[in-house]
């Protein structure tokens, strides 16, 4: 899926949205939005009253008010349809990744049968050969293959996927380029990640988030209050001796109830998810996007997120009595079976700097390789009766019996404090020296973390390195805190600890052992390259598998909430001017003395009422771009953001309609509409 952004006025979206806006007038649809439903009912009432002749006002005036009331509803529907249309455009490109395919399903008898992809169920097992499309989301249970995932990620380089480990997940719609793999399907049709995402961006299956529900409750309460205000006003009029026409009362009602935010609320929500999709991140729910805005602790894996991922061996530092050559050889032997980039860099360094030729594994039939494990934190080889090991200082210290030579301890400390990673090499339970591995920190991170500090978000680096190494890297990258020598379970413990202290935590992860932490975190972004377990546990998936993107996710979450708040404030603040437009107009007929209250000096009662109604409708259209694009997010502290937004949307919300209504009044007077 290409991260395509659509122009606000893309006709392929605008034109169908106009049609949708009318279709959405169906009251059954409108009931979900109490503010706009009341507006629609009001419009229906004034439509009928146009013809009863009981309103005591010229037909042209009644007609115009009625039309603008309908426009108010239609404009709100249009906003929603626009957001949905843009979402649909995203969904369509997502759908392309899911063209109709067939899968070779393994039958219980062991044979294969051709099954359309949409009939595959959870736990089905399929065989996929080179050149075929993977029929559904699943996990490789046998084999390894290179897979072209460009349809999903836009990244053209193929990636390796293999059974076991952390790279076993495959996505439906991607293409196997080599080898044959057996895949266990992990989701039923219609429940795949893509399906859920499509439902979300199209808005159809979008559930309101708790915050939207709370806001809807408040808007409904305001609507009810204004209904009471208007109905009672009719009664007061009778007592005082003023007759208010129903049409004017309805016009005042629609102007006072928060139609601006009521009309744009769902568009804002859809647009927020849409922006996330544009960044190639799929969210499981709108709630997850809002939670991203609330997060105040980011747990960032060092590798891949903060550093470029590969530490490089740059030097061998032997203990006295051991030559560099001997150390290099032992280091090379202990790394032969180590396929990690670090391991390979040790072999490379040994070869380049010390001329130790690369040994081939099959030349060493009697060698027993000891792979790295998270528990021992060592790897190595038993060869020719000798044991070679390399690993973190602590691990080797345990292995050699609890003590390391003083020189090694000093060297380890010095490398660590310089931000490097020391690996201690030992042979036959004797420490030989230290390998100096260096991390390369990604560019531009510290400015970014600075932005987050300003808005009160703490960044914590998680690393398996020792505390000194971690501290040096954290300092270089500008992080607030770090968790060193972290085992996978430490991550979960840290999240719990932060949450107990009242923090909301976001993290990225890809491995199966990240799953519990991803599930525990308030926002867990799983890498698309990660395991199925990780993807299930998180509430977002990054299709690009770029852990740094967590930062953008947080910004999008904040932007969504700010937009919603800004337009709510604007909408409520607008009421002041509308009062000053309509109330004097309603009373002027009976009490001409009240003219000074007409502070905007609007031409006539009819033009005043009409101007307010027109402004109220047009402001929805005017704010659609803002609702869809979102208010610009600025990395400032809460107090400064609040001051800024209160000035723009609060004070602005009070002043803008005074100007707008006055201008509309001048225009409609000039063209003799009122």
């Amino acid at each position: 899926m290409a991260a395509k952004t659509h122009s606000i006025f893309d006709p392929t979206i605008v034109v169908p949205a106009i049609g949708e806006a009318f279709k959405k007038l169906n009251p059954l649809h409108m009931v979900g939005n109490p503010v706009m439903f009341v507006t629609e009912v009001g419009a229906a009432i004034t439509t009928v009253l146009m013809f009863t002749g009981t309103e005591g006002a010229p037909f042209g005036f009644l007609l115009q008010v009625t039309l603008w009331l309908w426009f108010t509803v239609i404009f709100a529907n249009f906003a929603e349809a626009m957001a949905e249309g843009r979402g649909k455009a995203q969904a369509d490109s997502l759908r392309k990744a899911r063209t109709q395919t067939f899968g070779q399903r393994l039958t219980p008898s062991g044979g294969l049968e051709q099954v359309p992809a949409d009939q595959l169920r959870k736990e089905d097992v399929v065989m996929v050969k080179a050149g075929e499309l993977i029929p559904g989301d699943g996990e490789i249970i046998e084999g390894a293959a290179t897979v072209d995932e460009s349809a999903i990620t836009g990244e053209s380089a193929p990636v390796v996927r293999e059974a076991g480990g952390d790279r076993s997940a495959v996505t439906g719609g991607t293409r196997v380029l080599s080898d044959v793999i057996k895949i266990r399907i992990t989701s039923n049709p219609g429940e795949t990640f893509l399906d859920r995402m499509i439902g979300l961006v199209e808005g159809a299956k979008r559930q309101k988030t708790p915050n939207e529900i709370a806001l809807t409750i408040l808007l409904s309460a305001l609507t009810i209050i204004f209904l009471i205000v208007l109905i009672s006003l009719k009664a007061y009029g009778i007592y005082v001796g003023v007759t208010f026409s129903i049409t004017v009362l309805v016009a005042l009602l629609v102007c006072l109830i928060p139609t601006t935010i009521g009309g744009l609320l769902s568009a804002i929500g859809i647009a927020g998810i849409d922006r996330l999709v544009q960044k190639n991140v799929l969210a499981m729910s709108g709630r997850a996007v809002e939670a991203a805005g609330d997060v105040d602790v980011l747990l960032l894996d060092k590798t891949g997120t903060i550093t470029l991922g590969n530490r490089q061996a740059t030097a061998f530092v032997p203990v006295p009595g051991v030559t560099e050559q001997e150390l290099a050889e032992a280091a090379q032997l202990s790394s032969l079976a180590d396929e990690t980039p670090e391991g390979r860099s040790i072999v490379v360094l040994a070869k380049q700097k010390y001329g130790i030729r690369g040994r081939e594994l099959h030349d060493m039939p009697n060698a027993t390789f000891v792979p790295f494990s998270a528990q021992t934190r060592m790897s190595g080889v038993d060869y020719n009766g000798q044991s070679y090991r390399k690993g973190a200082a602590g691990a080797i210290r345990d292995w050699v019996g609890g003590r390391l030579p003083k020189e090694i301890e000093e060297e380890v400390e010095s490398i660590s404090s310089n931000g490097g990673t020391p690996l201690v090499v030992a042979m036959k339970e004797k420490a030989l020296g230290v390998i100096y591995l260096k991390d390369i920190v990604k560019g531009g991170l510290s400015e970014r973390f600075e932005r987050f500090r300003a808005i009160g978000i703490r960044t914590v680096m998680i690393t398996g390195d020792n505390a000194l190494t971690a501290a040096a890297i954290a300092k270089e990258a500008g992080l607030d805190d770090f968790l060193a020598q972290a085992k996978p379970e430490d991550k979960l413990a840290l999240i719990r600890k932060e949450q107990e202290a009242g923090h909301l935590v976001a993290m990225t992860g890809d491995g199966t052992n990240d799953a519990p932490a991803l599930a525990q975190a308030d926002v867990g972004v799983a890498m698309n390259t990660g395991t199925q377990a990780a993807k299930e546990a998180g509430n977002m998936v990054d299709l690009d598998s770029n852990p740094t993107k967590l930062l953008e996710v947080v910004e999008i979450g904040k932007q969504l909430l700010i937009t919603r708040g800004a337009l709510t404030t604007f909408s409520i603040a607008n009421d002041v001017a509308k009062y000053f437009a309509i109330i004097p107009a309603m009373l002027l007929g009976t009490f001409p003395l009240i003219a000074p209250l007409n502070v905007m000096r609007l031409q006539s009662p009819t033009s005043a009422i009409l101007s307010a109604v027109i402004f109220n409708a047009l402001v929805i259209i005017a704010l659609i771009p803002l609702a869809l694009r979102g208010v610009k997010f600025r990395p400032l502290g809460a107090a400064r953001i609040l001051r800024r937004n209160l000035l723009i949307y609060g004070l602005g919300g009070i002043l803008v309609p005074f100007i707008g209504i006055k201008m509309i009044d001048m225009i409609i007077t000039a063209v003799h509409l009122a």
Partner: protein, 608 residues
């Protein structure tokens, strides 16, 4: 608006600020079941005995439902108690004037009104109530309804301050401690001080004195059965009556006035309330009375700050209250000082301002100040007649009540009402900092908004709804055809409407002050006004306690630079803005039909 007024205003605000912190700190001890006070040696044994009699375990706290149930039961029982006393007044003791029992509807209205801390009075105190009714039936409520209000505020503050807690306190403990450690001790001293100023405190029958200048007036003629006589056209027949003597009220006044002001009750001993020379004898007594109205509400904001460990928040709330208060005083004072142009044309010195309905001893400034304070707080005592204020001068008290009595407000009630606006302000503007809104670390969720919205709805519904009914009903308004006034209002047009709106605003806001003009002692007005007081009190407290329970249960989110700030001038501005936009705008259409039209009409020469 003269220097004298400005100095008095500064003095008032200065003294109020001075007592806020010490009284707030004292409240912290009183509202803590284990708090120690200097009164412990005297009060502890009585407190313990009270718990024993009530079968209350003071160590046990309750969740919001039990707290609410206790409050409702207490309210119902005490209301019934007062109703019974009023109905049986003629056979109860301490009745030297041989006052008759009250009617059903007046008893209901009065019992509801005093139970809810409203103290709306559809009766004339000195000619209706026996000493027993005043002291046992009414003054007891002055203490207890005030204590209930403070208890509810404390429960809400606890809900905000606590986290992951099921309980919000023990109603009986709060009620007992507030009464014993706060209200009673202060009132004992306060009453003595008032007596020193010339206020009466006795059980003597009323005095009768001869007038030095007897006069004749017209009164409605009454037939043998006591019914008003009417002529052929149905108009009441008037007859001359010579007045040569005056009855002067006596009784236990100081003891009742102390709690009437301190507990923001406001129910006058006499009909003239704090304009009566006995009920407000000197400038000092006037100053102490308005000071005691704001004393506890102001101190409660300090208590809030202490409890939530954010004194800045407490002061921000105080400042928001103060800003609206100051604006009200200045507007009211300005228009009262400016006076009535029609009077000026008739030769009244414009410099004297609008003295109609004002006690000469207090003058323009102290009347405007008193009127603003008494309606900011849900006190309702008056030292001038609000009905006679200029339209905009009188709009201030009216709007104050319609905001929900949150500008310092009734004891307790002001704080819990204002905190609802705080929740709304935080919710609306909180989003703008890019997080789901949180108030002092508590996420504001749909349930909380539902409760807060319910409070605002009840306020609007009761004030606007009852007023609308009164405008349309034959019991509330003049006959639309003949323009004959039935037993409802005495005025029609905008001023009559203002009187109706004022009555329901006053009762729903649990204020109790009257604009006058309405003959409210009718079955219909007594019933609806009584209901309005009950709505305004209990229909609001229940969602507020539900909110307290919900907030107490929540986990607390840690604060950071990204947290919505609830202190400082910015927050104060936001809070004032929310109060005005969400609160005041609701009533603007109604106000424009009343005082605002009146204002413009007065300037073009028409009065009501």
């Amino acid at each position: 608006m003269n220097a004298n007024g400005w100095i008095q205003l500064a003095l008032y605000v200065g003294v109020l600020l001075l007592i806020t912190k010490p009284l707030g700190l004292y409240l912290l001890r009183v509202l803590d079941a284990r708090g120690k006070t200097f009164l412990d040696p005297i009060m502890r044994p009585i407190e313990r005995l009270t718990y024993k009699l009530l079968c209350v375990d003071p160590e046990k706290e309750h969740d919001w439902k039990r707290y609410t149930a206790a409050m409702l039961i207490f309210g119902f029982v005490t209301m019934l108690f007062t109703y019974a006393i009023l109905r049986l007044q003629d056979i109860l003791p301490l009745n030297p004037q041989k006052m008759a029992a009250l009617s059903e509807h007046l008893s209901f209205n009065t019992a509801a009104s005093f139970t809810t801390n409203t103290n709306w009075q559809s009766y004339v105190g000195e000619s209706t109530m026996s000493y027993f009714s005043q002291m046992v039936g009414l003054a007891s409520h002055n203490f207890l309804s005030a204590a209930v209000g403070i208890s509810i505020a404390a429960a809400l503050v606890r809900g905000i301050a606590r986290h992951t807690s099921k309980t919000i306190g023990n109603f009986w403990v709060d009620l007992t401690r507030v009464t014993y450690y706060l209200l009673l001790p202060i009132c004992v001293i306060y009453a003595v001080v008032l007596v020193s100023q010339g206020m009466i405190q006795n059980f003597k029958p009323y005095d009768t004195v001869s007038l030095t200048e007897p006069f004749t007036t017209q009164v409605p003629k009454v037939d043998d059965k006591g019914n008003p006589a009417v002529d052929a056209q149905g108009k009441p027949v008037m007859e001359d009556k010579k007045i040569d003597s005056q009855t002067i009220v006596q009784g236990p006044m100081a003891s009742q006035i102390a709690i009437k002001m301190l507990g923001t009750n406001g129910g006058g001993y006499t009909n003239a309330n704090a304009a009566h020379p006995y009920e407000n004898p000197t400038p000092l007594s006037n100053f102490l009375q308005i000071l005691s109205i704001f004393a506890i509400p102001s101190a409660l904001t300090y208590y809030l700050g202490r409890m939530v460990k954010n004194q800045g928040h407490g002061w921000a709330v105080w400042s928001a209250m103060f800003v609206v208060f100051l604006t009200g005083v200045l507007v009211s004072w300005h228009y009262e000082a400016a006076g009535n142009p029609i009077m000026h044309q008739l030769g009244v010195d414009p410099a004297s301002g609008n003295m109609e309905g004002k006690e000469v001893r207090f003058g323009i400034f102290n009347s405007a100040l008193f009127a603003t304070i008494t309606t900011d707080a849900s006190c309702g005592a008056v030292n001038s007649m609000h009905d006679s204020f200029t339209p905009l001068g009188g709009l201030v008290p009216l709007l104050n009540m319609e905001l929900g009595e949150i500008i310092f407000g009734g004891v307790g009630a002001g704080l819990y009402g204002m905190l609802i606006f705080v929740v709304l302000a935080v919710f609306i503007a909180g989003l703008m900092v890019g997080r789901t809104p949180e108030f002092l670390g508590k996420k504001i969720e749909p349930y909380d908004i539902k409760m807060a919205a319910l409070v605002i709805l009840v306020l609007g519904f009761s004030i606007l709804g009852f007023s609308a009914w009164a405008c349309l009903s034959k019991w509330g308004a003049p006959d639309p055809v003949t323009q004959q006034l039935t037993d409802g209002t005495n005025n029609n047009g905008p001023h009559g409407f203002t009187e109706i709106l004022y009555a329901y605003s006053s009762c729903t806001g649990n204020n109790g002050s009257a604009f006058g003009g309405i003959g409210a002692n009718t079955p219909w007005y007594n019933a609806t006004l009584g209901l309005a007081t009950l709505f305004g009190r209990f229909a609001m407290i229940v969602p507020i306690l539900a909110l307290a329970g919900s907030l107490a249960r929540k986990k607390r989110v840690a604060s950071s630079a990204g947290t919505f700030p609830v202190s400082g001038p910015l927050f104060t501005t936001l809070l004032v803005g929310t109060v005005l936009l969400v609160g005041a705008l609701t009533f603007f259409p109604a106000l424009s039909l009343g005082p605002i039209i009146e204002h413009f009409m007065m300037h073009s020469g028409k009065l009501f």
